[in-house]
Symmetry: C2
């Protein structure tokens, strides 16, 4: 029912032309102080709001940032993206953008969605998550000259400098976790990770290796790799503990695996139960991502600064969109932000 207030209405009431009103809003420095105030008064009085669709027609800018929302894969880590999403929406709003969602089942269908969105809604830019080696989505966007930022490093070396990205330093996190355990007196510290080949997983493992090396501990035989499920984590933890009963602590690549490790540690298998001397919490466990699950079960975990990461994504994207630099120019010298995770200490370690 709210009768639309257009720029022409404002102009009429303020006694100026449409263009002057437009100038007041977009290039205030070009208009006389007194006129500007008068126009702004009328704007407030009438409750005028610029119509994005009309502006988009003229400028080609939609003030929309598109991002994919995943189905929660394993369930536990799903919440990480969601927290990021909230931060993104918040930061984007502050910068004058809104977040548009889309879904896609795989990289190919996501690229198809790019075409769809760009043709219809014309989002100004994209935020890509879950990047991986030779990501076809990034190459497609680069190819088309569409502005985008990734949350996650480009893991293939060759692409390392071709687009801006924000990431959290996983190896710094696991190194800090390992040092925390070393400081607590542990020496035999194991690692539960994913199979080699995933950038994120390999990076997190590297931090554990580095910290152990710093303390003069040989990591050989102290790690296991498995897929990211609670049951797998439990099995891997059992296997590791069985093969080396001296292990007193575990750093895990994810909270899923860590929860599995907790199960193994707290209600150990029969073979191991005999010699159990610490019935309440025999093995220290540290997870990664500080998910709600970690909070609920008292799991010490590494927390990613998701809000900050999201804010940086918006900043980098806005720099491309608003700066003089084009997407292509910024691809020549893209900006990176690498954030440090923080250790949230709970009962498990």
């Amino acid at each position: 029912m709210a009768d639309k207030v257009t720029i022409a209405d404002v102009a009429r009431v303020a006694g100026v032309s449409r263009q002057t009103v437009s100038n007041v809003l977009n290039t205030p420095d070009v208009v006389r102080e007194e006129t500007r105030r008068r126009v702004l008064d009328v704007v407030g009085e009438l409750g005028y709001r610029v119509n994005r669709a009309a502006r988009q027609m003229r400028t080609g800018r939609s003030q929309l940032i598109a991002i994919r929302i995943d189905p929660d894969r394993d369930g536990i880590n799903g919440s990480v993206l969601d927290r990021f999403l909230h931060g993104l929406t918040d930061s984007a709003a502050r910068a004058g953008y809104r977040v548009l969602l889309y879904t896609a089942d795989d990289d190919r269908s996501e690229v198809a969605t790019f075409e769809d969105l760009l043709g219809a809604y014309e989002p100004d830019g994209f935020v890509l998550t879950g990047t991986h080696h030779r990501d076809p989505r990034a190459s497609w966007l680069l190819d088309k000259g569409v502005p985008f930022v990734t949350f996650g490093r480009p893991w293939g070396e060759e692409a390392t400098t071709r687009h801006p990205w924000v990431d959290v330093d996983g190896s710094a996190g696991t190194a800090a976790a390992t040092r925390h355990l070393l400081d607590a007196g542990h020496t035999h510290i194991g690692f539960l990770g994913w199979p080699a080949g995933s950038g994120v997983g390999d990076d997190r493992r590297a931090g554990w290796v580095r910290a152990l090396a710093g303390a003069g501990v040989d990591p050989t035989g102290l790690s296991r790799a498995t897929s990211d499920a609670v049951a797998d984590g439990e099995a891997a933890a059992r296997d590791l503990i069985d093969s080396d009963p001296g292990v007193t602590a575990l750093v895990c690549v994810s909270d899923s695996l860590a929860v599995g490790a907790l199960h193994a540690a707290r209600s150990p298998g029969l073979a191991w139960r005999e010699e159990d001397t610490r019935p309440d919490l025999p093995i220290a466990v540290i997870g990664f991502d500080d998910t709600p699950v970690a909070k609920a079960v008292g799991l010490t975990s590494l927390s990613q600064p998701l809000k900050e990461a999201a804010a940086n994504c918006v900043t980098l994207l806005a720099r491309i969109l608003e700066g003089t630099e084009t997407a292509r120019a910024s691809a020549a010298s893209p900006a990176h932000v690498l954030l440090e995770p923080s250790l949230v200490i709970r009962q498990s370690a």
Copy 2:
């Protein structure tokens, strides 16, 4: 770089006028079969996509559905909204809509955001979550005649018929959970809930009362109310168990409280430990929402059909937007959908 292809391009190539192309896309029945095919061929060939901004200028329709994304409050239940959001994005896309996100700290700032969004992006409709008694957001939207659907019943009676809504039948869920426990031989079944006054909480409690009544059990003294945090749940569970040691099972209003109850059940307080005769799992516990946490700790819980709920929201909203009925007309006889949760049985019960 993809040079924009407009309706005029298609028209030129197909040898027809702009309007005919528009008709082919919007009112196909008015155009001759042969012409339609020819135009559609050209559309495919050139990869034409209707420009939403231009269409919006003319029709006032943006094909956008706006929804608020919350910060994950307590952390555990946050994922519920996120799963709903994914379903919504998916269903919306199928119906030709996209989902626009916004944040807000409270009802008042959310209403301010309504004004902002309606003035600038002109979303066609809103989906409101977390409705409560005398929700000012709903009244505001009703007042302005803005189409919307709520996920959650209007709990105040007087507003019950004024807008379409989708909800999950909480009392049916807790009743089913209670019956499940009764079938398993439990008779002293307690309830951990929220303080009276919240529509959702009272409803879920009612299901428990109903199921007990059906079995001839008096619920008096068997329930506790507390705020929604793990520690509170643990304390409330201890209190209940201490006061009535005969309690062998607990139905909880949320997974947060249920996880707390599990803590209480599995590592009971000292006073109670003495007489513990079932060391492994003395008390059956059932939660609500089937969050990732439930999955991780083996908690039996009630799962909301979120995907289906989201799909229904889109359907109801689309009916208002596309049907002949206006928002006001549909407010006269709004549609409701009440879905049943399902019990996901795990180790805890």
